[in-house]
Symmetry: C2
Subunit: 262 residues, 2 copies
């Protein structure tokens, strides 16, 4: 038995999300089907570092699977990309120890959320950002950001996990939250040890409420304290969100697993 | 009667091109239908600066139309964008003199062509670049570029115009041709007084043949001289091509036409 680590990029537009669901296209299902076919196995379980919702994108999602079949890493990577839809790409395929688990071994994650603020939407960004049409008070948004940094109980910023999700400790540590200006808008960058369900989108929605002057900065503290999801802002729409990176301990791969040359 | 200049961005993926065709979705048709509806006219002819093929994109295509109906520029811009599909956006709406013609008044154009050269395609660029999988000799490609600069008979790099196209003088002046490195590949930037049908894609295809070592640099001169389309490289695929800018004389707009504030 051998464990393999997959690094994936996908455009979430056409999918109902990462996770397999009946009668809805998912990234996990495509990967499982193609891997089972290529490895000649009845079924291959592909476990992701976390679920992304419908419309959410990934630049470097991580997943793992186990198989006893022998694999040529290079050939398997090429075959996967030949058979997967063009909006799902396997960027890397590496060997990991059997104890590696894409979700439980993760020690950090990075998400970006893109805002588009011009009057007329750029048609090339329509599927990759939230078009906020009302003027935003950006200095106020930036002033509110540090209140989310550090270790907190994020219950007020987390939705109930979907059926089948493991119930979780609601305390998370947000290590970095930056606003980076981009042409036509900006990008909120989140780095932390982990994120609750819809936590990034709920924080973005709350920051935008503040920048609309519909919520005051001091209210954030009472929202945290209330541990009540209904008090925070509405979730920002999915298409602005990108899972950018999943971090693991430095020694999480098998030594024999070298990068594949061109 | 008043003439209006439209500046448009569109994602060409879903369209069979700019021009109206029976039983195929076109950008021109959407614009004509929405404008006729908004202006309460039976028909509005929207004339573009040039045709873009199916899959080709535009950052600033220019078109014009004429109407005797009174227009509030600001309201019409908002209404157009409210009714057009999200992959077609009107960026500007300005008043031009009646003599203005988006095609015949143009004095220059800029096109970009994006190449993606990494082994695994970036899923977010799949619809906006040509994925060239074989290694390219980029220094050789750059060495060949200056041979296309200046004034030439470009017959060997032009396809027969589509039915209904005006037959054209095949002499054009290419003022600028640069290669700009981008993450994962590069962009060829073309600026000239005008371009024949498929000229940019045919030059890109020829440059890539040179960078594959399948065509030699001195052959370019004989290809020019032969005035025979069959000798040059195959057209590069449409999805890498962007119409970036159409230039007009400085005084081509009416003075009353000021930019619309947010």
């Amino acid at each position: 038995m051998q464990c393999y680590k997959l690094t994936l990029a996908y455009d979430g537009t056409r999918y109902s999300g990462w996770q397999i669901q009946p009668n809805a296209p998912s990234i996990q299902q495509h990967l499982q089907e193609v891997l089972a076919m290529l490895l000649g196995e009845k079924q291959i379980a592909v476990i992701g570092s976390g679920r992304t919702d419908g419309g959410v994108h990934a630049l470097n999602q991580v997943a793992h699977f186990k198989t006893a079949r022998e694999c040529d890493l290079n050939r398997l990577l090429l075959s996967l990309n030949a058979l997967l839809p063009h909006d799902i790409r396997v960027k890397k395929l590496e060997m990991a120890p059997l104890r590696f688990h894409s979700q439980y071994s993760a020690i950090g994650k990075e998400y970006h959320y893109q805002l588009y603020l011009e009057r007329v939407m750029d048609p090339f960004r329509r599927l990759y950002s939230w078009h906020v049409l009302r003027p935003l008070d950006l200095p106020l948004l930036k002033e509110a950001m540090p209140l989310f940094l550090g270790t907190h109980d994020f219950t007020s910023f987390a939705n109930e996990p979907q059926k089948g999700s493991v119930s979780k400790n609601p305390v998370r540590t947000l290590r970095r939250l930056d606003f980076c200006a981009m042409e036509g808008g900006g990008r909120l960058e989140f780095e932390g040890d982990g994120f609750l369900y819809k936590m990034v989108r709920n924080i973005v929605g709350t920051l935008v409420e503040i920048a609309f002057h519909r919520l005051l900065i001091p209210q954030i503290l009472s929202i945290f304290q209330a541990r009540d999801r209904r008090l925070a802002g509405r979730a920002a729409p999915p298409q602005g969100l990108f899972l950018v990176k999943v971090d693991y301990p430095a020694d999480h791969l098998l030594k024999e697993s070298t990068p594949i040359p061109f």
